[in-house]
């Protein structure tokens, strides 16, 4: 049993403790690509158990920020701590432990194309745990069922699935290890409005029943209204964080246009 006895898991029934301790802490983050500055002093705290939406115009570095948090991209300057661990200074064992405590859903699912859906979900379980095969298979089946995929999809390959089903399968893989934090990169992009609403609802349900902390990059105003507790807006290479009501009152031109534009108003009505 190499992992999972780490303190402060998301296990249901855990004493909640200090709810204000951030599970993700970003301080003074600077990102530069050549001479182009994407982030210039970004600060962000994500608290345990909340759903944080990250929004911003195209090219403001939302996905870049996500990559920096999950350790795929090294920030030019600044500090990123996830569950109290700095991914860039931690040793590889600590990094692996942290990696097994989060799940990431990439934009188009990023499923391994040579494996079936069930095998995709089982990969992490086989790698990070020493459970018996039959238990792993049952866990994978449960995860696939929980994200609302029909039983016959277990043995299908990603290329045989629709875009929406691939996202659900990607979500099942992200949830394989019962992570504490779930990162979602544009989870509803490319889905029809009904599928998108169903996906929002699914994330909300899973977040409540598994006690997840969710960070989602999105363009979708409906998702923000439906499931996000707080929203982080990337404007002018900085971050503004607040609840929807706070951001609705914000006078920054981009934020104002974003929430008060025709789509913003439509989302409020629904």
């Amino acid at each position: 049993m190499s992992l999972g006895n780490s303190e402060g898991g998301n296990l249901v029934g855990d004493p909640v403790g200090d709810n204000m301790t951030p599970v993700i802490q970003v301080r003074g983050l600077v990102t530069r690509f050549g001479r182009q500055t994407v982030h210039d002093g970004v600060d962000l705290d994500v608290r345990r158990g909340e759903v944080m939406g990250v929004v911003g115009g195209s090219g403001t570095g939302k996905s870049v920020l996500l990559k920096e948090i999950i350790g795929l991209l090294r920030p030019t300057a600044g500090r990123v701590e996830v569950l109290g661990t700095n991914m860039w200074t931690a040793d590889s064992a600590a990094r692996r432990t942290i990696q097994s405590r989060w799940g990431v859903l990439f934009q188009d699912g990023a499923l391994f194309s040579s494996m079936t859906v069930a095998e995709n979900v089982m990969v992490a379980l086989k790698e990070h745990t020493d459970l018996e095969d039959c238990l792993i298979q049952e866990l994978a089946r449960i995860k696939i069922s929980m994200v609302g995929l029909p039983p016959d999809s277990c043995s299908k390959y990603p290329s045989q699935l629709s875009g929406g089903m691939r996202k659900r399968a990607g979500l099942a893989r992200a949830l394989a290890l019962d992570p504490e934090i779930l990162f979602l990169d544009e989870p509803t992009a490319g889905l029809d409005p009904i599928g998108a609403a169903a996906f929002d609802e699914l994330i909300g349900t899973l977040q409540r029943s598994l006690g997840l902390t969710v960070v989602m990059v999105t363009h979708d105003l409906d998702s923000l209204y439906a499931i996000c507790d707080r929203i982080a807006v990337l404007v002018d290479r900085k971050m503004r964080v607040g609840t929807i009501d706070m951001l609705l009152a914000d006078t920054h031109p981009w934020i104002h246009d974003y929430f008060h534009g025709p789509r913003g108003r439509a989302a409020v009505k629904s």
């Binding site: 049993m1 190499s2 998301n10 020493d130 238990l135 449960i142 995860k143």
Partner: protein, 379 residues
């Protein structure tokens, strides 16, 4: 045994109630250990009711809930009444979700029938082989119809693409093909010299080289290298365009993919392969001449004189006449497999491999057919 803080289960009796108390953390890390412990769990006597007390749990995740669910279901199947007490609302939700997930995805076991499976695989394989052959033939037909259409209106031919591919498949292939056929000539001369020297018939090395290289090896080696080098490139290029939906975009813009993609490649290889084969013949013979001089002291002059005696222009033409046919097979198979790519990047790789194997196979089969034909015609 279990690490500190990991889940345990304690049993006790209260009258005829069997009390099961789940304690600690029931999570992924401890699931295996718990599951084995729970399958061994059995009441010593028939209880009136089983009470499962979760109030001692310090945490539970999906894996823990699954293990618990298995226990409850097993006990129920054994005819016990199980009641869960002391669960927090969140734990209740999780247990209910897991139960629902298990019900919705019942374990499916497919019966294992080795002979039946083998028969099925063979059948499927044979069927898909026939299907592939038919589709390839249809594609050949489609390409020839397109050629006829373009021939009536030559301005439709893509000259830029043609010259680009001519450079790719012809000019750029010269170094590697030159090196390989030179070495083939060297090896052939060396091996046959050893045998012929025993009969004092060293000079016939030249006959052997001349006929071997001009009739067979020059064009065959060239075709195989070109199939590996350019046939695969055709499949990969067109396949990538297929994945990016570029081929679809062409179609909706009213551009014919066969005309845009297949014809320039076909024409380029059709022109290039005979030329490259001729070059391969020359370099191969040169390699043989170098080796003949090295091991048998046959000078270049002697070599050329004997070559003139041994072979006629027909010998070379018999070899080179095959090149355009091989060129068509290689380019058509390459383009056909490229257009067969569907959706994923993985299928590009798979079909590229298939294109190379198929075109080399067809080249060698056709070469054998040519031999039969030529012997029938007494050439």
């Amino acid at each position: 045994m279990a690490a500190a803080g990991s889940g345990v289960i304690k049993t006790a009796w209260d009258g005829d109630h069997w009390l099961l108390a789940a304690l600690g953390r029931w999570d992924l890390a401890g699931a295996e250990h718990l599951d084995t412990a729970l399958t061994r769990l059995k009441p010593e006597r028939k209880p009136g009711q089983v009470l499962l007390d979760l109030s001692g749990l310090s945490g539970m995740d999906t894996a823990g809930a699954l293990v618990l669910d298995r226990l409850i279901e097993r006990l129920r199947a054994e005819g016990e009444t199980v009641a869960v007490v002391g669960a927090t609302p969140a734990q209740c939700t999780l247990l209910r979700d897991v139960r629902r997930a298990v019900v919705r995805h019942p374990e499916v076991t497919t019966p294992h029938r080795p002979f039946h499976d083998l028969l099925e695989r063979v059948g499927k394989g044979a069927f898909s082989l026939a299907q592939d052959a038919f589709q390839l033939l249809s594609f050949f037909g489609l390409v020839f119809i397109t050629i006829a259409r373009v021939a009536r209106n030559p301005r439709r031919f893509r000259w830029t693409a043609f010259f680009f591919h001519l450079e790719q498949v012809g000019l750029n292939a010269l170094p590697i093909i030159g090196l390989l056929t030179f070495l083939i000539g060297v090896v052939l001369a060396y091996q046959s010299a050893d045998q012929l020297r025993r009969f004092g018939a060293e000079i016939f090395v030249v006959n052997l080289l001349g006929i071997g290289i001009l009739r067979e090896l020059g064009v065959l080696i060239t075709s195989i290298i070109v199939a590996g080098r350019s046939g695969s490139a055709f499949t990969a290029q067109i396949g990538t365009m297929k994945v990016n939906q570029e081929v679809d975009a062409m179609q909706v813009l009213g551009l014919d993919p066969i005309e845009m993609l297949v014809l320039p490649r076909l024409a380029a290889l059709f022109v290039a392969l005979p030329l490259v084969s001729f070059y391969a013949d020359v370099v191969g013979l040169f390699g043989g001449a170098v080796m003949s001089y090295g091991t048998l002291d046959i000078t270049l002059g002697q070599f050329l004189r004997q070559l003139q005696v041994a072979v006629s222009p027909t010998t070379m033409l018999v070899g080179l006449i095959k090149a355009p046919v091989f060129a068509m097979v290689i380019s058509l198979v390459g383009c056909f497999e490229g257009l067969n790519v569907t959706g994923s990047a993985e299928s590009v790789g798979k079909l590229t491999t298939r294109s190379v194997v198929e075109s080399i196979f067809l080249v060698i089969v056709l070469d054998a057919l040519f031999s039969i034909l030529f012997s029938y015609l007494k050439i």
